[in-house]
Symmetry: C2
Subunit: 363 residues, 2 copies
């Protein structure tokens, strides 16, 4: 007897494994179809082994340049006034596989990105309770995940925790959360169980998982994950100056057709994708189906949600002539920021938002 | 006919070659005998190929956060009021060969250090002429030497100039020079011809050679040579924080006996060396000839010269019994800073001033 489709339970396309030990798993972006990414399909970025934490024993320390240091447990946190924020998280290395020349780091294609509802307590409420001292300028978020590094980093500081800082103005935005739910469910182990930060508008490295400490400091933090990792070069008078990666850059991605997809000749094809920006709203997506010579406005779907992606579509009448064709999409936001056509090499391995070239085969 | 000693011209011991292309050459420290290091014996630290510059065509640009940007030539510089500063320069990687576990970088023994008279124009006079704007906080010194990097640096900014910044308070110290003479001679190509910076009290990386531009900036500079290179980790609440290498740490070095020297048993041996500190005066050098159990004060020789080394000696009556013995020296300065016995691993590949163990063979 042959199994028919209806006898088989529907399953999601599997995450693409980019690394094991520690796990780094990618959402198969060509399968994009829902505004909220299912928890099981949300990309996983880990730097060290996933900590095995028990919510009933978890404590969060709040200390440093504060008048009233304190710590709190999980039950105390969930009894505080909660807020739900919708936010896209994108790894700052997303699309690294498109870089020429290649850079070190995980070779993400397009799927190190996802959107979820996040529920938790505004970070600012916790900071207010600790009473910041006047000299406070940054807030370091420290995770429970830790480990050492091997080459290629010649100057690693031994065994360290994952940690990242926010300047005070960002830390005080009410949609920055100390979160314990993702799409209405408790956080799974790989997404930060029991508690993580969620920093809307910034690349994912700021949304520290397995949060264990909030350390308020009076001088700028230059930790490993904002110098050796998750940093780019900016120029001061022509000289490269190392700056931490922060806000998400405007970007459109094509979900369908996928890279190297075979599409029928002389037919209508629905080009479909998502677009987003860090702090603002996507106002335009343009599509080119001839390698960048001519551009047409795509149709933006649904309504815009701050800090989330917005889907778009474009009807492409495919060429009659078989061959390779290059499809591009380019987003612009309400602050007139648009995607560059070429890669800025000073960004090295991070913040990859130049227009991507999706080559397809027309048959 | 056999050559007798008096028929042969005296020569200096050769510099030890640590690297060619680019040249990195070390003073053979066991030959130490003069307060001023002869120019030909002064250690050479280069990051890129030595620039071939012509003083008659050289220009220095002064720009950035200044009200009156200008540039000047060599003749104009040498006609300005000059000052001579005596200063020791030590590479922040000096003694790297003693590190366990080993670190990447040039394996200097003890000779990436030297003392010279430097003549030039105080940097502050040049800054005054440019009229700093109120927002100025750092001064970047840029050299004419430039190039690219290969692994092991995964995140290098392409082809860059050598550049280093000074905070304004250091830049304004009157003994910080834009120098054109070394021990009364014009600078040789490898020491920065025609003009270099000399920053007394700081490790050598601040004394930028082949100076071509002084760029005043209004935010802290995080260039390659003060983040990926020439930096150490400091802890903020236990978390490693990347800070640039700056001031020279207190240190005594033993010139004689040399490491693995064979010394006669049951005899008087003159242990001899030099000691220095960054901003202060060496007040004590102690010597141990039994691996660190007992310590005796060494005799400080001559008088103390700020920013220079001071020689010291200690008469050691060597053991009657043949074997391996470990000699140590430890300096303390007038701010009660003393050398640590053990290496602080957070310093990684730089700032190496823990007490060195000189093992000798008594026969």
């Amino acid at each position: 007897m042959r199994l028919s489709d209806k006898n088989i339970a529907r399953s999601f396309p599997a995450l693409i494994t980019r690394q094991t030990a520690p796990d780094n798993l990618e959402f198969p972006f060509p399968s994009l179809d829902s505004f909220l990414t299912p928890n099981e399909q949300f990309f996983v970025r880990t730097h060290f082994e996933v900590p095995d934490l028990d919510a009933s024993r978890w404590r969060l320390k709040v200390e440093g340049a504060v008048a009233r240091p304190f710590d709190l447990g999980y039950q105390e946190l969930v009894r505080m006034p909660a807020r739900t924020t919708t936010a896209l998280l994108e790894c700052s290395g997303n699309s690294r596989v498109f870089l020429k020349p290649t850079e070190l780091g995980i070779r993400w294609e397009q799927g190190a990105v996802g959107t979820a509802h996040w529920t938790g307590v505004p970070l600012v409420d916790i900071l207010d309770r600790a009473l910041l001292k006047p000299e406070a300028i940054e807030v370091i978020l420290e995770g429970s995940d830790k480990g050492g590094f091997h080459p290629p980093h010649p100057k690693t500081p031994g065994v360290i925790s994952y940690a990242r800082s926010l300047p005070l103005d960002k830390a005080k935005q009410s949609d920055v959360l100390v979160a314990y739910q993702m799409n209405g469910e408790e956080l799974s182990a790989e997404h930060g169980c029991p508690v993580r930060a969620v920093v809307p508008g910034w690349y994912g490295m700021a949304s520290v998982k397995w949060l264990k400490r909030i350390l308020v400091v009076d001088r700028p933090f230059r930790g490993f994950f904002q110098t050796f990792e998750y940093s780019t070069w900016l120029r001061q008078g022509g000289l490269p100056d190392l700056v931490p990666v922060t806000e998400i850059e405007v970007k459109a991605q094509i979900a369908r057709p996928a890279l190297n997809e075979v599409v029928p000749a002389d037919a209508n094809y629905r080009v479909f994708g998502a677009a987003w920006t860090g702090n603002g709203e996507v106002t335009t997506v343009e599509v080119s189906t001839d390698g960048g010579e001519n551009w047409t406005r795509a149709t933006l779907l649904d309504h815009s949600v701050r800090y989330a992606w917005r889907f778009w579509e474009h009807c492409w009448h495919t060429p009659a002539k078989a061959g390779r064709y290059t499809i591009l999409a380019r987003a612009t936001d309400d602050q007139a920021r648009t995607q560059p056509m070429e890669r800025d090499e000073d960004r090295r391995d991070a913040v990859i938002n130049h227009v991507q070239r999706i080559v397809v085969l027309v048959r």
